[in-house]
Amino acid sequence: MFNFNPQTQKKLARFRKIKLGYYSFIVLSLMLALLSVAELLVNSRALVVQYEGALYFPTYTEFHPGTEFGLDYTYETNYRDLAAHFDQTDSSNWVLMPLVPYNPYENDATDSIMRPEAPNAARQHYLGTDTTSRDILARLVYGTRTALLFAFAFMVSVYMIGIVVGCAMGYFGGLFDLGFQRIIEIWSNIPFLYMVIIVFSVIPAEASIPARITLLLLVMVLFSWTSMTYYMRTETYKEKSRDYVAAARVIGASTQRIMFTHILPNVLSTLVTFMPFTIVSAIAAITALDFLGFGLPVPTPSLGELLKQGTANLRTAPWIVTAAFGTLVLILSLVTFIGEAIRESFDPKQFTLYR
């Protein structure tokens, strides 16, 4: 549907020329790529275990009980201990651990007292530990991944609804437009935060964590799609009166075809410029909800929860808030830079005949 026509190629070239945005884009893409395989980088499960001649790759498989590696317990193997055990027994067995050998849930207290510990490279807690001795880097990585995934899913869903409804309103106009506008006005006046709180108080506790996250996404989308329709509606109105639309209609193109094949590519530039900012607001929203305690359930790692811990221990453990805040600033800045660059390179005024 979206072939790169010469105009688009020109826009992309412009985007590449805007250095700050372009490099931000590369960094963010790299981050996303790394986050999508976070299990290989930050995990308490080993990457590779060689035991009695056989190789094991436990990262993405079912759990391996300790007994499988000759240990005396039936629960999940502690691979860090296993590595130490192999070292001591001087066997040919070995374990290759990820860069950060902790998962975001386990308590790893140095002197058997759970408390925030400062960053310590020797123990591989590169950003320190939180109030119950969990690795902050691990919690940050998985928390960020959830937030980004959430934000992308949010953006896609909001745009899908926004585009369809907005285009339809602009294209059909008349009573349909009038009626839908009123509905949107009413709908957008329902306080979103209260709805989240209400919905969350009635979800049964049995709901799994992914189900809860999906539900949160659903509620947020349900109350956020409206703002997008305004832009789409006006853009479509504008394009509708152009000659090429009339030509398409004369040829006998279907309404659907005119809307999505002819009009949509022409209004896309508006959409694209909004995308990064939608992502920023989604990340901010989920973090805020978590901070307030209405977001992801305990003990799911999240930026908001870390921020909350950080602010609660501002004096005694400044590294918690620094890590969480730093990550948030980094991601939001990257996305904003990309957004600015896109806006600039896609700005239709650069190419308009009316300039």
């Binding site: 009980p65 317990y73 039936t74 629960y75 207290a109 058997s112 759970m114 602010t311 221990n313």
Partner: protein, 649 residues
């Protein structure tokens, strides 16, 4: 003249504007229940009796507790304002009925108002409150009480025998929507006799080792205030502050909805010069600020916005307010650690045995062994706390001497889970049945501050193949959930008051578990429904337990009661529906140095330093401290540890 009229109109307008809240309460049609109360007295003439002074038994041995040592210090200064944190704004000013049992009620009832007599926090003997003296009559199973004729309500109306009679009517009506009170006042007392305006006797069904406590700890209600009690009691009295016997009163204008409540010391309080009371309730104004977030409370304390802060959690004592903290090192904030001896709040996991799977004893036993409280105590609480043994620890010989909580043991947990059909681990290490049922339960709690405890338990339980889904709610929502018996497993505790022996009916009797737990034949009622608004959090219904509880209620020999209490604790232990958690054998406090305490700080049986209101605010010291803070002048570091009542581990 015109000017005056204008001013008058303006005032009226303003008054009307302010009065909108009042109007809401005045909108109720006026009721006078005096006739209804009288009729009730007549139809229950065997309960509400009248007697003449000549009928008094002659051999009564009167006690008045006058020799007991004072509570509080003669050095206490009256005056000043204390700033205190309130976790949640009160949902009502009623002290009974739905939503009344919140964090605010102690301020207007439990900790401040006067009963006939009170246990001395050091000796446990009674010192007089509203009573002048009292006597136990064994033959008639009654306690005779002579009321202090000086006693008045805060609105000046004298407290008489009629108020005590009325109290029984009040707590027995269905208007108040409080089944616990209905049951208690119907079953625990057999009559009240009025001899004169200031002499009554109250009878109880069975003599007890602490017969006097049931009567002496009664708190009367002002009949003149409650004469409008009727069908709409809950709404009508929702925001009315009742005349009180307490030193503190609440004025309408001091209730800032959602933000703060201010209590004022009653300058005409009748007990202001009474022994045991005169050196207490020293602060003129108590300003209760609603601060919901725990982290914020500590910051408010450090800023000096509130005056005292409990440091029971290791996190605060060792990390956030250690000796090296600038304010502590400069002597502005003082720290105290006091070991006490009293019934321990049973922190632990209350398993709802009505839920599927949890009704299986093997699963409950497995959960017991899959819960690593010792790790929580050692690593999270840094060994300061101790492991709870039963749900009724700290009652001296009434507590079971030998039962120990089951220790964390993955092998044994696995054996029990296997017996319940959970014999294989799923792909995530959680046990499953052959049909795919996972061994997963929700652990809910209203203790936001202790949520880390649950995540630690969750991690450890996973080793035993058990999944805990942690659900942390705010305090009110959490309590509501258990009161409606919606929980699987709930992490919570009860605040036990100072009593000689534990209560079992509330938590273990089947009457509090189901509407009708057993059929008349004695078989389990297949259609039984869990009963809401009771403290039987385990939905525990065992006929043997019911029998013992009734025996225990009617037993008068303390030896027999001890035996019964032990039997019940054993049965409860075997049933395994409560996982004992931890208790702290002490309390710790940090306070700004202008808050002063008596020399011994607190009392052997006290639960917290503020409980008896013996502290005072020294305004001169406050000024001195605030000035010192500005000029960086320092004082001696104050850390006091009071371990004279420390329990052997």
């Amino acid at each position: 003249m015109t000017m005056n009229r204008f001013a008058l109109t303006l005032t009226t307008l303003i008054l009307m504007g302010c009065g909108s809240d009042q109007d809401a309460t005045e909108a109720f049609p006026s009721i006078d229940n005096t006739a209804e109360v009288m009729a009730f007295y007549e139809t229950h003439a065997d309960f509400f009796r009248a007697g003449s002074i000549d009928d008094l038994p002659e051999d009564l041995v009167w006690e008045d507790g006058a020799d007991l040592p004072e509570v509080g210090s003669p050095n206490a200064k009256k005056g000043g304002t204390e700033y205190v944190r309130l976790a949640d704004f009160p949902r009502t000013l009623r002290t009974v009925g739905p939503d009344s049992n919140g964090s605010f009620r102690p301020w207007i009832l439990d900790s401040t108002s006067m009963a006939l007599a009170h246990r001395h926090p050091d000796t446990l003997d009674y010192f007089p409150g509203l009573a002048l003296r009292w006597a136990v009559d064994v033959d008639s199973k009654s306690v005779f009480v002579e009321l202090d004729p000086k006693a008045t309500w805060s609105d000046g109306v004298p407290i008489t025998a009629d108020d005590y009679r009325f109290t029984f009517w009040f707590f027995r009506t269905r208007y108040i929507t409080a089944p616990w009170y209905n049951n208690w006042y119907e079953s625990q007392y057999t009559g009240i006799t009025k001899y004169s305006d200031h002499l009554i006797s109250i009878s109880i069904p069975e003599l007890k080792p602490d017969t006097d406590s049931k009567v002496l700890e009664l708190r009367p209600l002002p009949q003149h205030f409650y004469k409008e009690v009727g069908d709409d009691f809950l709404e009508r009295y929702q925001w009315r502050f009742a005349p009180t016997t307490a030193a503190y009163i609440l004025k309408d204008e001091d209730l800032k909805k959602g933000r703060s409540v201010r209590l004022t010391r009653d300058q005409n309080w009748w007990a202001a010069d009474k022994k045991h009371w005169r050196y207490r309730f020293n602060v003129d104004n108590i300003h209760l600020l609603v601060i919901r977030d725990n982290a914020k409370v500590f910051e408010a304390f450090k800023r000096g916005d509130i005056d005292q802060f409990g440091l029971n959690l290791a996190e605060y004592w060792y990390e956030k307010l250690p000796e090296t903290d600038p304010d502590v090192a400069a002597g502005y904030i003082e720290r105290k650690w006091f070991f006490n001896e009293r019934p321990r709040p049973p922190y632990g996991l209350w398993i709802n045995t009505h839920q599927p799977l949890l009704n299986d004893q093997n699963i409950r036993l497995g959960i017991q062994h899959a819960t690593n409280w010792q790790l929580v105590i050692d690593q999270f609480f840094r060994g300061d706390y101790s492991r709870l043994k039963t749900a009724n620890d700290g009652y001296g010989r009434y507590s079971h001497p030998d039962i120990k909580a089951r220790e964390f043991d993955i092998e044994r947990a696995a054996a029990y889970f296997k017996a319940a059909g959970f014999n294989q681990r799923g792909p995530d290490g959680i046990l499953q049945r052959a049909d795919g049922t996972r061994l997963a339960f929700t652990v809910s709690s209203g203790y936001e501050a202790l949520k880390d405890v649950l995540t630690i338990l969750k991690e450890e339980a996973a080793k035993a193949g058990l999944e805990f889904r942690v659900e942390v709610l705010d305090a009110t929502a959490g309590w509501k959930k258990v009161q409606e018996k919606q929980h699987d497993i709930h992490f919570s505790a009860f605040g036990y008051s100072l009593e000689l022996y534990p209560r079992f009916w509330e938590t273990f009797h089947s009457d509090n578990a189901y509407d009708k737990a057993f059929l008349d034949t004695g078989a389990i009622n297949p259609d039984r429904k869990p009963k809401s608004q009771t403290n039987n959090l385990e939905t525990l219904a065992i006929q043997q337990m019911d029998e013992w509880i009734l025996q225990y209620r009617t037993e008068s020999s303390s030896d027999e009661m001890v035996t019964l209490a032990h039997q019940m604790s054993e049965l409860h232990h075997d049933y395994a529906s409560f996982v004992p958690g931890f208790y702290s054998g002490f309390f710790r406090l940090g306070h700004w140095r202008w808050i002063r305490y008596p020399e011994n700080f607190s009392y052997k049986h006290a639960s917290g330093s503020q409980e008896y209101f013996v502290h005072w605010v020294d305004e001169a010291v406050k000024t001195e401290t605030l000035e010192a803070k500005d000029s960086e002048k320092t004082f001696a570091v104050q850390l006091q540890i009071f371990d004279q009542h420390r329990e052997a581990p």
